[in-house]
C-alpha cells in the first residue's frame, strides 16, 4: 500500500467524527497556546533584562587582572597600554572601552553612603550603555565639555544634593594611597530598577584615575563587539592574545552567575507546569484513542480481512493521531501569534505592587515576548513525541486483534 493513500485514508478518517477531532485539537491547541505564551514571555523578559544589564553594566566580556572578578580591589588596576588597543585587530572586536571602577564613601553634612565610582570614557561609553538616555536632570558630557560627575537620582536624594552641588568622597586609593576629592554634580541619572546596584557615580576616566591615585591605570577594558552572537569565540580569541598569567578575559555569564542561575530556575519552574499540562493533555488524547479503537474494531477487522496488513493499519492510526496533533499545534500557534507579536512590538510595563514584587528579584517588570523560532519548534517536537508514544497503543491493539472476534458485531 502506498504512503500517499494511507495518509489520505488517515485524513478522511479523522473527519469522520468531526466533533471528537475538534475537541481533541482544542485540547492540544490549548496546551500549545499556554506553552508558547509562557515560554515566549519568559524568554522575552529575560533576554530584555540580560541585554539591559550587559549593555549598562558589564559588556559582553571584560579584560581584567586575573583574580579581580572574585576579589575586586583597586590595587588590581593595570596600565592602559598599547596591547589592549591592539586587540581591536581581532576580527570581531570593534573597539576597547576602558573603565576604572572602585568604591568610595560619599558624605554630605550628617549623611554618608557607600557609592560605586565608575570612571568612563564619556562618548564611547554612551555608545555602549546609553547612559545619556537615562539622564533625568542636567546634561550628559559632550565633546568639548567633560567636566563634572553624574550621580544616580536615589543617592542624590538621600544625600540631599542637587545639580551643581559638590559631592565629597573618600576612599582608599591605588596601593594604599589616600583618596579624597570634591566633585561638581552635572547630571543625575535613573538606574534601571533591576540593576541591583546601590549608589553609582560616573566620572570621566582621568578624574577617577586622579581620585584613586592611579594615573593611566584602569580596572577593566570592555571589548565592543561587531557581532554579539559570537561572544564565546571572540572571548577565546582574546584569551589567545593576552598574557594569561596576569590577565583574564571574563564572559558576562561568569560576572553575573546569579542572574544566569535565576533564569534557569525561573524557566525550570515554568517547564514543570508545562510538563504537567502536557501530561493531562496526553491523557485526553489517550482516552480518545481508546474509544476510537473500541468503536472502530469492526472496521479494522474488515480492513484486515480484505487484505490490509496490520502494520499498515497501525501506521494509519499513527498518522491519524499525528494529524490531529499537528493541527492542534498549528491552531495553538496561530492563536498565540497575534498576541505575542503584539507584545513583542509594543511591550507592556506592569505598574504598582506587582512591579515591586518583580523588582525584588531584580526582574524588570516589562512584559515583552520573544519570537525565537525554537519556542515554536520545541512545542511541535513535544507533541510529536507525545503522539508517537501514544500511537504505540493502537499498534499493540491492532497486533493482538483477532479478526474473527472483531468481525462479530
Amino acid at each position: 500500500m502506498k504512503w500517499g493513500s494511507l495518509s489520505k485514508l488517515a485524513w478522511r478518517n479523522i473527519w469522520r467524527n468531526k466533533r471528537r477531532t475538534w475537541i481533541t485539537i482544542a485540547s492540544i491547541a490549548f496546551a500549545v497556546f499556554a506553552a508558547v505564551a509562557m515560554r515566549s514571555v519568559q524568554d522575552g523578559m529575560w533576554d530584555n533584562m540580560m541585554q539591559e544589564v550587559i549593555e549598562m553594566q558589564t559588556g559582553y566580556m571584560q579584560v581584567m587582572k586575573d583574580g579581580y572578578l572574585e576579589t575586586p580591589s583597586v590595587n588590581d588596576a593595570f596600565p592602559n597600554e598599547a596591547w589592549i588597543d591592539s586587540l581591536t585587530e581581532l576580527e570581531n572586536v570593534e573597539s576597547m572601552l576602558p573603565r576604572f571602577q572602585s568604591f568610595a564613601l560619599a558624605a554630605q553634612d550628617e549623611s554618608t553612603r557607600g557609592i560605586m565610582v565608575i570612571g568612563v570614557d564619556p562618548l564611547p561609553e554612551d555608545n555602549m550603555s546609553g547612559l545619556s538616555e537615562r539622564i533625568k536632570k542636567g546634561t550628559y558630557w559632550a565633546n568639548n565639555d567633560k567636566n563634572g560627575v553624574i550621580i544616580d537620582v536615589n543617592t542624590a536624594d538621600y544625600l540631599d544634593l542637587d545639580l551643581q552641588d559638590t559631592l565629597v568622597m573618600i576612599s582608599s586609593g591605588f596601593r594604599g594611597a589616600n583618596a579624597a576629592g570634591k566633585f561638581v554634580i552635572r547630571a543625575m541619572l535613573e538606574l534601571p530598577a533591576t540593576s541591583g546596584l546601590g549608589g553609582i557615580v560616573y566620572m570621566p576616566l582621568h578624574e577617577a584615575q586622579y581620585f584613586f591615585r592611579a594615573e593611566n591605570r584602569i580596572t577593566s577594558s570592555i571589548p565592543i563587539l561587531k557581532d554579539v552572537d559570537d561572544v564565546e569565540d571572540t572571548r577565546l580569541a582574546i584569551q589567545n592574545e593576552i598574557d594569561t598569567s596576569t590577565y583574564d578575559v571574563v564572559h558576562w555569564e561568569a560576572m553575573m552567575p546569579e542572574l544566569v542561575e535565576s533564569r534557569v530556575f525561573d524557566e525550570g519552574g515554568g517547564i514543570i507546569i508545562l510538563l504537567i499540562l502536557y501530561m493531562l493533555v496526553a491523557f485526553g488524547i489517550f482516552g480518545t484513542l481508546l474509544m476510537m479503537l473500541q468503536e472502530r474494531s469492526y472496521e479494522f477487522g474488515i480492513l484486515n480481512a480484505v487484505g490490509m496488513k496490520k502494520k499498515f493499519l497501525g501506521i494509519m492510526l499513527w498518522m491519524e493521531t499525528m494529524l490531529i496533533g499537528f493541527i492542534g499545534v498549528i491552531v495553538g500557534i496561530l492563536i498565540t501569534l497575534p498576541i505575542i507579536i503584539w507584545l513583542n512590538v509594543d511591550p507592556v510595563r506592569i505598574g504598582g505592587d506587582m512591579a515591586e514584587a518583580y523588582e525584588q528579584f531584580n526582574v524588570d517588570p516589562l512584559i515583552i515576548t520573544s519570537l525565537e523560532p525554537g519556542i515554536f519548534v520545541s512545542q511541535a517536537i513535544i507533541v510529536f513525541l507525545l503522539v508517537s508514544v501514544m500511537a504505540l497503543y493502537p499498534f499493540y491493539k491492532i497486533k493482538i486483534m483477532k479478526v474473527i472476534e472483531a468481525l462479530r458485531p
Binding site: 490549548f30 564613601l105 573618600i170 544566569v260 499540562l277 493533555v281 491523557f283 474509544m291 505592587d353 514584587a357
Partner: protein
Amino acid sequence: MNLLSMAWKNVWRSTTRSLVVIIAIALGVWALIFLMGFTEGMINSYINRTIENQTAHLQIHHSKWKDEHLLKHHFDQSVVESTVEEIEEVQAISHRIISEGMLQAPKSTQGVSIIGTDPEKELKVRKLKESIVEGAYFDTISRLPVIIGKKLADKLQLELKNKVILTFPDTSGSVTSGAFRVNGIYQTNNSQWDQTHVFIRKSDMAGLTGLPDQQVHESAVILDDIEKADTVKSQLQALLPDLRVQTYVQISPDISLFKESLDLNQWIMTVIIMIALIFGIINTMLMAVLERTKELGMLMAIGMNRKRVFGMILWETVLLGVVGMPIGLILGYISVYLGGEYGIDLSQFASGMQEFGLDPVVKLYLSPNVYWEVAIAVVVTALLASIYPSLKATRLNPVEALRKL
C-alpha cells in the same frame, strides 16, 4: 432505581475509559497540590528566615528614621524598655545603634550598614549566633570585635582575626574610624544582605560615635505569637506616639507582595490545569453519550424524561471527578507532608536562590483551605464539562435514536 446509582453503574460499564479520566483527574490534582505546596513552602521559608535573620516581629524607630538613616535620629531605649514591660505578648527585645559606613580591608573597600548590638539581648531576636559559620559570636574576649557576612568576607578576602577599618559619622558631624578584628563570619539565607551588614558591640559603637548613654536607633521585638503582630503594634504605637512602630510586613514589604503573588500564582495554576482536564472529560463523556444513542433512545421511549437524562449524564461526569479527586488529594497531601518533613534540596541546581533570601532546601507546605478550594474547583470543572454532553443526550430524538445501529 434512582439516577445516582444508575449513573454509578454506567460509569463502570466501560472501566478502561472511566479509569483514564479518573487517573487524569487524580494526577492533575496531585501535581497541582504538589506545585502549590512547593511555592507556598518556598515563600513561607522566605518569610520565616526574614523574620529570624532581619526584621524580627516588630521594630521601633525614630519617626524620621525611615526617610534618612541619620545618626541624630535616635531615641531613649529605657523609655521603650519600660513601655514594653507592660505588654505580656513581648517575648524579647533588643536595641541597636545603626550607621551607614565603609569597611576597609587590606585588599579592598566596601560600603556597609554597621549594626551596634547588645550581644546578650540580640541572641533572642536574631538568629545570628546560629548562623555563624566560622569563628565565634561576641562571647570571646577581644578588643573591638566585628562579625561579618560570608559573602563579604569572600569578596574582600578576609579571614578570622584580620583587621578591618570601619568608618562612619560621629555626633560632632565629622567621620570617625575604628580598627576592628574579624571575630566571626555569619551566613544567612540572603547573601545580598550578608554582603552589606556587619555587627559590632553596641558599647563600642556608642563610644566611637559619641552617642549619649541609652540612645539607640532601632529596637527589635519578638512576640510569643506572630499572629499578634498587628494588635501589639497598634498597642505599642499608642503608648509611644513619638516613635514609629512597624510590623515585619511593613519593614519588608516584599513579604506582603509575596503573599499576594502566591494567591495569584495558585489561582493561575489551578485554572490552567482545570482547563486541561475539561477537554479530556468533555471528549470522554461525549463519546459515552454518542455510543449509547440506542440505549438512551430506548430509555426515553419507555418514559424517562429529558430532565432525568440530563441529570443522569451530569451525575456520571461528576462521579468521574468525585472518584478521581480524593485520590489526587490524598496523594498530594502525602507528598506535601513528606516534602515538608524531609525537604527538597535544590542547592545543586540553584545556589543563586540564596542571593534573594530563598532557602535552597524547600520544605513543602500547603494551607489546609487550599485542599478544599481544589476539591471545589474539580467539582465545578466536572459540572462545566458535563453541560455539553448532557445537552447532547437530551437532544436525541428517541425514534431516530432507536433506528440507529
